[in-house]
Subunit: 317 residues, 2 copies
Amino acid sequence: MTTAGLPMTFPLDGLPARVRIHEVGPRDGLQNERAIVPVEVKAEFVRRLADAGLTTVEATSFVHPKWVPQLADAEELYPRLTGPDGPSGVRLPVLVPNERGLDRALALGARDVAVFGSVTESFAKANLNRTVEESLTMFAPVVDRAKEAGAHVRGYLSMCFGDPWEGPVALDRVVDVARRLLDLGCDELSLGDTIGVATAGHVGALLTALDDGGVDNTRLAVHFHDTYGQALANTLAALRHGVTTVDASAGGLGGCPYAKSATGNLATEDLVWMLQGLGVETGVDLGRLIATSEWMADRLGRPSPSRTVRALSHKEQ
Amino acid sequence: MTTAGLPMTFPLDGLPARVRIHEVGPRDGLQNERAIVPVEVKAEFVRRLADAGLTTVEATSFVHPKWVPQLADAEELYPRLTGPDGPSGVRLPVLVPNERGLDRALALGARDVAVFGSVTESFAKANLNRTVEESLTMFAPVVDRAKEAGAHVRGYLSMCFGDPWEGPVALDRVVDVARRLLDLGCDELSLGDTIGVATAGHVGALLTALDDGGVDNTRLAVHFHDTYGQALANTLAALRHGVTTVDASAGGLGGCPYAKSATGNLATEDLVWMLQGLGVETGVDLGRLIATSEWMADRLGRPSPSRTVRALSHKEQ
């Protein structure tokens, strides 16, 4: 450990020189917190994350407010982020479930959107009340019209490594849905381990299967949850396969450290610690990021579940 | 996830077929818990760990009772473990700081002992009140006499990746102390990341330096703390370098999940989840191990910090 609270640097062969962190704290994190955070706090959170060097901050979701009350203020939040007091030089993707959501996002000037698909029928039903096929049919005009508007489109794939209802998920099902989403016109796909069951070999096998199936790994992001403590080891496995975009949540937001099912995202700080140690560039200032997560933890009234935040916190907890 | 609460299996190239887990919960774990656990609970804990399939359970420490009150009952505990009600077919190593400690351990029939050295002067001073050189001089007759008695001797090396007072630790200092401990006659060395700062590349660099310095990696164990969330990724890096012994603590004992400096050991359950997913044999029954950690958490009156224990717990927490 250096005096600055950073690890020593030792590169590993076969890793990318640079990783883009797709920060999901304000959306995936806050969506899964019990507290409903005021819009001005959210705006400040995004601004601080950008100041810490994060270049992609998923800001909110244009789902129907009744489904995700934590993000019901999307219409109010988004203009604050793109206005004169918002962060500059940062991509601010937003989720759009359907054409109605896309209309709302485009009307506010969003040009970075994401659809969220599922690999499994059970989760497609639970999350979208549709079959996988029906959800792809629903996404088709969303992606088309987003592309026409000049937007970058990300496609999320949930339950790539296991499903709470169905159990194991076959690799070829993931490959099939991934190809379908790329065929619709998605620019990037994010492979979600929604229930956190993947291990490093599974990650390697899926990325190999995708590559064999014509899905270039450089178009992929990985989105790991730390339910079984595997998220960082799995990320390392993905980087060895050419993935250069990693989803993470500042402070580990979204996973309550005291809950039975702590299905939180990989904490951005733990990821940055590893990448800093590996000499992989992220552009993130770890000290500023930790200060941001501490600030947010104060707003939420509970400590951060990120181990790195706890280790380097300036507060007694 | 299978219905049995186990991950799917996908082997990774270059990993060992089998890993021996050196379980440190009863010693390193309980030593760092605030509570002082009754001797009969400790004996039952070790018995349950052995029943879960762990073949090496570090049982206690023969340091002077005044330094580690949590383990002051070593003289009472050890005979319970080796008596008719103790576990069978399990190695029960104990720590011995000096000849006096060795005498006590040998008198009780211990034939599996460990000395604990430090790579850094600061920690040698803090932990043993000696220089590194003086501590090696102190260990020489301990190792000699242990070997004469037919004992297996492990040498711990603390602060291999960083030191809270000195900061960065040079690789060649670790190689030097490791060679010295092997020259004294140690059968096995455990590389400790006592403050949890290592990242995967650092692990690889140190193992390469040790190999280049004549220290065969198959004689090494790794002992990671999860302070910055890196323990499992670091373990995976070590396995790729031929290490086949991994230290871990059942339930993540020893790291309070609510403390600022959560310097706990890697949780055995999170390790087993990964190894099971990678198809690496451990002989451990994950369900039984989780039940043991839940039982111990009840005795300690607080939930386990292991994410896998929390995810698969049968209790509401």
